[in-house]
């Protein structure tokens, strides 16, 4: 599965206009950063790390996927994003048919901006829709209006993007089954070919976790989340977008190649503050805060904050940990047959897949993927 020829690039843009109540990502508002980091020239810093990366890696490896995430990448504007992509093309080169995605906030794009991104070489747009229910968006402290995401996705289609994704969050306190069904149907109506749906995770230190601790909002219930997951899965399957990863559904051929690279333990280089990289069995991660990150890159010093060399055991563990989440599953040969049989008996692994020499999860198994992974890896280093 490990393909040495593919290389993916992740680019992190650590800016947001405001911080959403549930978010613990590495992102900063203008007031949080002050004047030490300039948003309007940050694309130059990113481009500089791209050059640095290419020099480190040698120029013989072309990039097959690029994913710009955040934060809110569109705060760099189409000019800034295209600038970074141009640098990637120049320093590494893109393979034929490469997938180039940027995330975007639904209310920060315009048809014109989308057209410029498409012209600059972006092939895929991913919008954080989260929900179509106003009360849910309000609890999540999202600033966009319910219709903005669907509108943005349609504009992206119109601008020539073949691949458009919407992100949903389910299990938000106050969300009803009908709210969720409404969100899924609204997303499908936008003509997308990919949907990601994540159950809300209450991360420590977020405004949401404080509100729950104060008793203002109930903690999302796991059983309700499981029900919601099944609602989503039923509708996506029926609409012709089957699951290909635990939290991702796509029209066949519309799977996010960048995403798959992660789950298949392929090589990627992370550009930007806090970004993680995985190349040839090494992992490292950049300094998290944009200010010291920028200082290092401008001084042409490696911006990494730490690294690890993966052992054979680590690699095997990761192969199971990541691969099991994919519809394609993992090879039966890498795990203990008896444990797989137990999981089949428990209804978590599809017996048909085992006959074909693979370990693929049933829907119940997808919902218990972490438990399956623990079972498969029990009594190992």
């Amino acid at each position: 599965m490990h393909d040495r020829n593919t290389l993916s690039l992740y680019v992190h843009v650590p800016f947001c206009t405001s911080r959403c109540g549930y978010c613990d990502f590495n992102t900063y508002t203008a007031t949080e950063l002050g004047s030490d980091v300039r948003r309007d020239s940050f694309h130059e810093v990113l481009a500089k790390e791209v050059r640095f990366a290419a020099e480190q890696l040698g120029r013989d490896r072309k990039v097959s996927t690029v994913f710009v995430g955040g934060g809110t990448p569109t705060l760099l504007g189409s000019t800034g994003l295209n600038y970074v992509l141009a640098e990637i093309k120049k320093s590494f080169g893109l393979v034929e048919g490469a997938e180039v995605t940027t995330e975007a906030n639904p209310d920060s794009v315009t048809p014109q901006m989308l057209a410029e991104l498409r012209a600059g070489g972006f092939t895929r747009m991913s919008f954080g829709m989260q929900s179509s229910a106003p009360k849910v968006l309000q609890i999540l402290e999202r600033t966009h209006t319910p219709g903005a995401s669907v509108q943005a996705a349609r504009w992206a289609r119109d601008a020539g993007f073949e691949h458009v994704n919407l992100d949903l969050i389910y299990g938000t306190p106050g969300e009803s089954d009908d709210d969720l069904i409404g969100s899924v149907e609204a997303a499908l109506s936008a003509g997308i070919d990919h949907l990601s749906a994540y159950s809300l995770i209450v991360e420590d230190g977020t405004a949401l976790s404080r509100r729950i601790a104060r008793g203002e909002l109930p903690m999302p219930d796991d059983d309700v989340c499981a029900d919601r997951y099944e609602l989503i899965d039923d509708r996506m399957q029926a609409a012709g977008l089957p699951w290909y990863e635990v939290s991702n559904w796509a029209v066949p051929g519309g799977e996010c190649q960048h995403n798959l690279a992660y789950w298949r333990s392929q090589d990627w280089w992370g550009i930007g503050p806090g970004a993680h990289s995985h190349v040839n069995g090494n992992r490292w991660w950049n300094v998290k805060h944009p200010v010291p990150y920028t200082e290092k890159v401008l001084a042409y010093a490696p911006p990494s904050a730490g690294s690890e060399v993966l052992t054979t055991d680590d690699l095997r563990l990761e192969e199971v940990m990541l691969g099991v989440r994919l519809a394609e599953g993992i090879s039966l040969a890498v795990v203990d047959r008896a444990k797989v049989e137990d999981l089949v008996a428990g209804g978590l692994v599809d017996p048909a897949s085992v006959s074909n020499g693979r370990v693929q999860l049933t829907r119940a198994g997808r919902l218990l993927a972490d438990a399956v992974i623990r079972d498969l890896l029990a009594n190992q280093a």
Binding site: Y10, H12, F25, N26, G69, S196, Y198, S199, I201, D222, D223, C225, A226, Y229, V246, S247, Y262, W268, G270, G274, A275, H276, S277, H278, R283, W285, E308, D314, L317, E318, M321, L322, G346, L348, A364, R366, L367, L368, A369, D370, A371, I373, R374, L377, A378
Partner: protein, 610 residues
């Protein structure tokens, strides 16, 4: 030391007395003042609770082991007296030790808090003292407190002991007020000891303490004859002979003596290393020309309550064994044997005199050996009769038969509760719930009542005292003594996880209460055991009959969202942490139960606070 010397004291100037008091009524403070008034401790060396040796005693304000202090006292009549103050344990668990201390005295100072009145245990000990024909010196203490009601409680005391309220002394041990008057009364009213000075030596052991450096220190009261420091002594219950290494008195530091004569109180050191070789209540005589008849009253300490003690960390088992072996040297009543539990691993089945004893042992083990322990619910001793008439004894629910048995006898106690009259209804209800049978009720004063009940001991060891305290805002006091046994309809309730019994949770209860126990335990476990990948039934059963059932529903969702920014390392570390957590799980069949669940399920019922 001025006045009469140890070993050659005329019995006519000796006064042997003890102080009977409830916890917190000021006994240790009064003892402190007596040390100062008689001058054996100067003000500079004085410290609070001078005589209490163990940290636990100081912290909890209770006396576990008694002591005897020789106080030379120049009385108002110009005579030099010797006062031997024998400290008594103040708790129902140690009634036998109290009775031996009382047997060493001719009189007792009855010390009662002037703001609270007499408490049940004090009353019980007072009756013990009266049975032993002791002269009582009644004292109301803490009269400096704003809440003190000396008139009211003097009336109460005078009614109980049948004296004139005017004869009751008033003190404040804290300020020292009235302390000398107590000593004068001791000299004037408590009889001097009498005994046959020329007869064979007989001395009663009223305490026996292990000292790391000296071995066992035995406290005795000489009744007849004389014990010389160069003699060999014999224990009359066993005939064992020991060489005397040292004889002396405590005043309040050890003072060597050439011997102890009639009426004197002091200590002996023989070099034995285990208090079991020098037991409270035994009679000591001389090895040569010794007495033929013991003083009587000796009894082996018998455990009344059993519980399993387990180290929370299984690898601490050897440390627990060593700590018990060490504690045993100082505690003749403690018994234990190894026990294995499916749920808790390796531990010990321990027998205790009562709940306080149990708690003290556990606390000492945790404190002195730095162990974290978990104890199973306490059990009493059941006598079971088979159909063929043979009998056996059960102290552990796991030994209790599943099938029907001809008779089961459980120990019962006579309990005395003293409480404000406003709580009588509530407490009667509580006793009713605990299968109590009322024996009588008396008004001690217009708003204080003494209730007497027969109760199954098993109902008391559970959480009776806690319930009593909470239902009476802490005003009720409790005393009880074993008063035989009764035939009872008892059953063992097992708790099953997915059909497998978990030994640590089995309990012997009355048939009428089986359902309540089952519901409580299954409900508790339902909340404590994490959901598994499959449904887990939790059942309570009597034999093969299931009486109540809860279900832990199968977990449906256990999956994390995406890897943020490709942070696979974080995900792998989380997984490794989860795998570590899995190792700490105990497997009951296929069910993973965290150690903490066992601890939490047992904890609410295993630590009665006294």
């Amino acid at each position: 030391m001025p006045g009469p010397q140890p070993g050659s004291t005329d019995p006519s100037v000796i006064r042997n007395f003890c102080i009977i008091a409830h916890i917190d009524h000021g006994k240790s403070t009064l003892a402190d003042r007596m040390l100062q008034v008689t001058g054996v401790v100067d003000d500079r060396s004085m410290r609070a609770q001078y005589l209490d040796r163990m940290d636990i005693e100081r912290e909890r304000g209770i006396t576990i082991k008694s002591q005897a202090v020789r106080l030379p006292y120049l009385a108002d009549d110009g005579e030099h007296y010797v006062l031997n103050m024998i400290d008594t344990p103040g708790h129902v668990d140690f009634t036998y030790e109290v009775s031996r201390s009382l047997a060493a005295c001719e009189g007792a100072v009855l010390l009662v808090d002037a703001a609270q009145g007499i408490e049940a245990q004090t009353l019980a000990n007072l009756y013990l003292a009266l049975e032993n024909d002791l002269t009582i010196v009644p004292v109301l203490n803490k009269i400096d407190l704003p809440a003190a009601q000396p008139e009211k409680y003097a009336a109460e005391l005078s009614r109980i002991i049948g004296c004139d309220p005017a004869d009751i002394l008033l003190t404040s041990a804290k300020t020292g007020l009235g302390v000398r008057a107590v000593l004068e009364r001791v000299v004037a009213t408590i009889p001097a000891p009498t005994g046959n000075a020329d007869g064979p030596a007989r001395a009663m052991i009223f305490d026996s303490v292990y000292d790391t450096y000296r071995g066992v220190v035995t406290y005795v009261r000489v009744v007849d004859g004389r014990i010389g420091s160069r003699e060999k002594i014999a224990m009359m219950s066993t005939g064992a002979v020991h060489e005397l290494i040292e004889v002396g008195v405590i005043s309040p530091e050890p003072v060597l003596s050439k011997g102890l004569g009639v009426g004197e109180v002091g200590y002996l050191i023989t070099g034995v290393k285990d208090v079991r070789q020098s037991r409270v209540g035994d009679t000591i005589t001389t090895a040569l020309r010794g007495a033929n008849e013991s003083l009587g009253g000796y009894r082996d300490p018998k455990p009344m309550v059993y519980s399993g003690l387990y180290p929370i960390d299984g690898s601490d088992y050897p440390e627990l064994r060593d700590a018990l072996d060490k504690l045993k040297l100082n505690d003749a009543a403690l018994i234990y044997e190894p026990e294995t539990s499916l749920a808790l691993g390796f531990g010990f089945r321990c027998g205790f005199l009562g709940l306080l004893h149990m708690e003290i042992v556990r606390e000492r083990l945790e404190r002195e050996a730095d162990l974290d322990l978990i104890s199973t619910a306490p059990s009493v001793i059941y006598r079971l009769i088979r159909d063929d008439g043979t009998e056996y004894v059960v102290t552990n629910p796991s030994e209790f038969p599943d099938q029907k048995i001809a008779h089961i006898y459980e120990p019962i106690v006579k309990a005395t509760v003293i409480l404000p009259s406003e709580f009588v209804g509530t407490v009667m209800e509580l006793c009713q719930q605990r299968r109590g049978v009322m024996l009588g009720m008396d008004y001690l004063s217009e708003d204080r009542v003494e209730l007497r009940y027969t109760l199954p001991m098993a109902e008391i060891v559970f959480d009776f005292f806690d319930a009593l305290k909470s239902k009476t805002k802490g005003y009720a006091s409790l005393d009880y003594e074993l008063s035989g046994e009764q035939d009872a309809d008892l059953v063992k309730v097992d708790i099953l996880l997915q059909g497998e019994a978990v030994d640590a949770f089995s309990s012997i209860v009355h048939r009428d209460k089986a359902m309540a126990y089952g519901t409580m335990m299954t409900g508790k476990l339902k909340d404590l055991i994490p959901r598994q990948q499959f449904e887990v039934p939790i059942q309570a059963a009597i034999g093969s009959r299931v009486i109540t059932r809860e279900t832990i529903r199968a977990i449906r969702k256990d999956v994390l969202a995406k890897c943020y920014g490709g942070d696979i390392s974080r995900k792998r570390k989380l997984l490794e942490k989860q795998k570590e957590g899995k190792k700490r799980m105990k497997m009951v069949g296929r069910v993973e139960v965290p150690q903490e669940a066992f601890i939490a399920a047992l904890s609410t019922s295993d630590s009665p606070k006294k």
